[in-house]
């Protein structure tokens, strides 16, 4: 069997007594588009933040291409409060990364509440994200001796902006763009870090119906073009059912269902969690 791109084992995240993610197990295989859905406050973004090392999980492990990128076990106060099972499952070597390290390994993300660089144009936003893959050092850059590399990056930026369809607004300030375009820009910026796994946090939020429709085709297209694996958090059920190969559903931090879109649509537990059948 092929190794999954991302594997989440017994992931638990507690904030004091609040259990935001509770014993979550997931895996995403190469080339899949997987959706993580659940009602508001179910712990989806928290799970994202654990994967990208914004938070240190209380317990559990995140494994990327066979390498543990986050592994932890409850200690101190957390141990006393710990609500999950398998308290000692990960008590071996503890791994803590910083978010930039995770991105360097090849996991890029977008944000639920758009976080573009405010003082920069759309073009600069994407260009900045390529900084990670530079070879030149600060001195050659200061003296602008890295012309070739810089030129290649600018070209690549232009290409990315063209792919997401923002070429005409590339010199506008990022924050002055309409909401839908800001979302696309965030995706372009994430792609600029050359990821293998793309995490999209509610990419359709704030988009109009037409844009949402275009988004599913767009996600599929970039998946092929950049040979990505995609994990997406989303509320728009049409979009989720359209693009996902598999879906995970969580509620109150706990996994309640897992399966193909068809299976999920039939699942009584899911229908109940979504207020008696919001899924249409």
């Amino acid at each position: 069997m092929k190794e999954p791109v991302l594997e989440i084992r017994h992931l638990t995240m507690q904030f004091g007594g609040v259990v935001a993610v509770n014993d979550l197990n997931m895996h995403i295989d190469e080339g899949e588009i997987v959706a993580l859905i659940g009602p508001n406050g179910a712990g989806k973004t928290t799970a994202f933040n654990c994967v990208t090392s914004v938070y240190e999980p209380t317990n559990g492990a995140v494994i990327f291409r066979g390498m543990p990128i986050a592994r932890n076990h409850p200690s101190g106060r957390m141990r006393k409060f710990y609500a999950g099972k398998e308290i000692d499952a990960f008590s071996g070597h503890v791994v803590h990364n910083t978010p930039d390290k995770i991105t360097e390994l090849g996991i890029a993300r977008t944000f639920q509440n758009i976080r573009l660089f405010k003082g920069m144009t759309a073009f600069e936003n994407v260009l900045t994200a390529m900084h990670l893959r530079r070879r030149s050092n600060v001195f050659t850059q200061m003296l602008h001796l890295n012309g070739q590399e810089e030129a290649a990056m600018r070209k690549e930026t232009d290409r990315l902006l063209e792919i997401v369809g923002l070429t005409d607004v590339k010199d506008e300030m990022a924050t002055s763009l309409p909401y839908g375009k800001q979302r696309l820009l965030e995706i372009a910026r994430a792609l600029a870090t050359k990821p293998a796994l793309l995490l999209l946090d509610e990419p359709a939020a704030g988009m109009n119906p037409q844009e949402t429709e275009e988004l599913s085709a767009f996600i599929r297209r970039i998946k092929e073009q950049f040979s990505l694996t995609v994990l997406v958090i989303e509320h728009h059920m049409n979009l989720v059912m359209d693009i996902s190969d598999r879906i995970y559903v969580i509620d109150f931090g706990k996994l309640i269902a897992e399966g193909t879109p068809e299976e999920i649509q039939q699942n009584p537990a899911v229908i109940e969690a979504y207020l008696g059948g919001d899924v249409d």
Binding site: F15, N49, F111
Partner: protein, 307 residues
Amino acid sequence: MWNTVFPYLLSGISVGGQYALIAIGYTMVYGILRLINFAHGDVFMVAGIIMIYISASGMPLYVCIPLVILFTALIGFLIERVAYKPLRSAPRMSVMISAIGVSYTLQNLVLYITGGLNKQYPTIPWISDSVTIGPATTKIVTVVTPFLTIFLVVALVLLINKTKIGMAMRAVSKDFETSQLMGININSVISTTFVIGSFLAGVGSILYFTNYNTVIQTSGAMPGLKAFVAAVFGGIGSIPGAVIGAFIIGIVENIIKGMDVILFKSGVIARPLGLATFSDAFTFALLIIILVVKPTGLFGEKATDKV
């Protein structure tokens, strides 16, 4: 040994008490506005200047002292209204810059008024008298300070825990936005905080300058910074923390000041090392160590950011 250490210890406790009175102002303002009020040390200095000018007008001391404290509280109130209130929704850096601007303004105003000269602080009868305790001879103010400080702190803690305005203060320092929604008048709470902070700085200035005799426009900078360090040390936002931090800093600073003499007299060293230079530097080294090792200080609470 004890005989040489004791005088330094005594003045350390006294200075610590004076720092404590200033530190409370820092810690309360930070607790509520998350602002380092860089001007607070200068308010303390201005209180000293006001005392000099009021007493020069020939008024009796029992009129002067209340007037000084009243004016100092008023200045604190005005600074908040003029320089901080308009920036309530501005980025934190702007407010800090405004605080630095106020500090600069106060120092320059005093420079203008005094002509940049050291001004003699009036002698306050009784507390300026000398007293001998064991091996140390000192002014009565040295002995009075810690007691007065403790008394004021207890009164303040009672005010915060038992009165309505105190409850409002605690609410605002916990959650600014929510307490606003709950109908607490934020502005009056903030003003009260500044008034209390400045009031205590006013009292502190009388004790401090009675000990040091002269006031100049930069007199407030150092005690102000040290009091701030004390507030951080104790865990910013915590009043008991600030007081304990201030006493520790006051004592250690004075011990370092006397370290040469102490070591010399006890025969450890043959020649002075000039360690007294480091009495100020020590405070800041302590600050950096504390911030790195335990940024929340002795009694501070941890805050988390949301992504």
